[in-house]
């Protein structure tokens, strides 16, 4: 498979007066990939999507789609189509006319009918052409919005929080359906979302944005295992963040760090980290910590503490362990194998961690 870049953003910036919504955005999207822009609300992800769609012009920088510069090209002349957050179903048109909207007057009538039927079939709304726009359920509106965009055969489909208006069950079902649809069509999907699970379950790659900047672009697995800084580490999943001092840095891919009371441990250097220093922070996922009544053997770094909180989640149990050294309690997650909760509040416990579980997060900006 040859990997061509369908979308290129070079040095894109968007300012509104003195407010900078997005800045320094460099991004290359591959043909046929499912890409998500993830970030908290107000981080600029929707602005980036709308600049690709052509609803907003970048203040700086350039956008290319399929090798063609989009400078000055209005939204209606771009090879992209969008699924709006509100779905924007035309209230005065029925389902069939909504889906046919962009083809009217451009394609012959029999072909329109054929393509509408095909598009509705694809989103599992076959035969609902005559249904009124106001008689649709939330899920159906979403499907009509998808069909209306896909019928245009876009090179890139843009999705602005496409699932946020649906309830939890339906949302999970649509996640799988949309992923399947994308894979069978082979079209590039670019989705904006604030939901990390949605981004992780659906995407090939994720770009995480904070305060107008694209901080890391990576696969879901790498984003979880090798976040490039504190913000991403704690935005995606839960993370214990501890201070550490680098002991020797000579080796190419590994280094020894001193994690205060935990002791010294050899860990992998994180290739995504750019700002190296002597005093760094490291992260440990709660599920990668060992918790036991006695000092665990075979763990290079161990620490004693007291259970301060127990939370039973069903599939796993969360403990908060208070230690003398660290200000914040350390969070530990244990899978619920045997339907038991092993520790109670105020129990004395030992924590242990392997070097492979400690993530180098570089120098802390704070």
């Amino acid at each position: 498979m040859t990997e061509t870049n369908i979308i290129k953003l070079r040095g894109v910036e968007k300012r509104y007066g003195s407010f900078t919504a997005a800045t320094g955005i460099n991004l290359e999207l591959k043909e046929g990939e499912f890409f998500s822009l993830l970030g908290p609300s107000g981080c600029g992800k929707t602005t980036v999507l709308r600049m690709i769609a052509g609803f907003q012009e970048p203040s700086e920088g350039h956008i290319e789609i399929d090798g063609v510069s989009m400078d000055g090209v209005p939204a209606n002349k771009r090879p992209t189509n969008m699924v709006f957050q509100s779905y924007a179903i035309f209230p005065h048109l029925n389902v069939g006319d909504n889906v046919a909207y962009g083809l009217r007057g451009r394609v012959a009538k029999p072909e329109i009918e054929e393509r509408v039927a095909e598009a509705l079939e694809m989103v599992e709304l076959g035969g609902l052409q005559k249904r009124g726009a106001t008689e649709l359920s939330g899920g159906q509106r979403q499907r009509v919005a998808l069909a209306r965009a896909l019928i245009m055969r876009p090179k890139v489909l843009l999705l602005d929080e496409p699932l946020s208006a649906l309830d939890k069950k339906l949302r999970e079902q649509m996640q799988f359906e949309m992923r399947n649809l994308q894979q069978s069509l082979g079209i590039t999907f670019v989705m904006v979302t604030h939901d990390q699970y949605e981004a992780m379950t659906m995407s090939d790659r994720i770009g995480v944005m904070f305060q107008g900047r694209l901080m890391q672009v990576d696969t879901p697995t790498m984003l979880y295992a090798r976040p490039c800084n504190r913000e991403i580490a704690s935005f995606i999943g839960e993370m214990n963040i501890l201070p550490a001092a680098v002991q020797n840095e000579q080796a190419e891919t590994s280094m020894t760090v001193d994690m205060a009371a935990f002791g010294k441990i050899e860990i992998e250097k994180n290739p995504n980290v750019t700002n190296r220093a002597k005093n760094i922070i490291v992260g440990i996922r709660p599920e990668q910590l060992e918790i036991s009544p006695d000092k665990p053997a075979d763990y290079p770094a161990t620490l004693q503490g007291t259970v301060s909180n127990v939370a039973f989640y069903g599939e796993n149990v969360h403990y908060h362990v208070k230690t003398e050294t660290f200000e914040k309690p350390i969070s530990v997650s244990v899978p619920n194998y045997f339907h038991t909760v092993d520790f109670q509040r105020d129990d004395k416990v030992w924590l242990g961690v392997q070097g492979a579980s400690v993530i180098d997060l570089g120098q802390d900006k704070q």
Binding site: A53, T80, N81, F84, S86, F90, R106, T134, R148
Partner: protein, 260 residues
Amino acid sequence: MSRPSKLTIYAFAYLGFLYLPVLFLPLFSFNSGTIVAFPIKGWTLDWYRKLGEQDALIQALWNSLTVGLIAAVLATSLGLFAARAFVRYRFRGQRASEGLVMLPLVIPGIIVASSMLVLFLFIGLKPSLTSVILGHTFLALPFAVSILKSAFDDFDASLEEASYDLGVGVFETFYRVTLPVVAPGIIASILVTFTVSFDEFVLAFFLSGNQPTLPVYIWGQIRFPAKLPNVLALGSILLLMSVLLLLLAEYFRRRSSSSK
């Protein structure tokens, strides 16, 4: 059935108070006696028949229709642009601008009337239907803007974007999306502003000169007791017309906001 609460009884009594005068006009317009008092002498349609014979009345009706229609179209067109801007964009001086447009609602009528009379004469515009049209457009504008604002409120901005996104240009989008979605609001606005102009008296009294509108004509007739039954018949027809227009406007306004 449970006993109605005091509040419910009060509500119905209040409704009676609201409708009392409105219902007496039609009632006495069928009275064959010329004095508006109980008991009613007998029933007749004479007063309605005589209406058609009065040339001055027909002329006044014609004046009112002309003024109402032009003022309604002017106020609605101005209101259309204003409402779209108010709902869709955020701009400097927006609050001031919105407040200013609503101002005609709260200025005492006599002051609007006298100051416009002075202004129009100052710029050389003699009292005429033209000056009444200009004045009524001013008075009707707040009604047009508030109706159209609610029409645009219900009109999701992403609908237009979705249309551009599907490859359709600005003008075609206005014609294929904006207009059909807002159309009921526009019709409601025209009906309401027409009614406002059609019923307006004080401004027309000051500005119409020797071309009276219907309310000004009625004002002239009220003073003569002999003409009273005629005025009642005419008033009843006007009441009926206003109510029908309003109900029609209400129907379209509902359609504009239920089509979300």
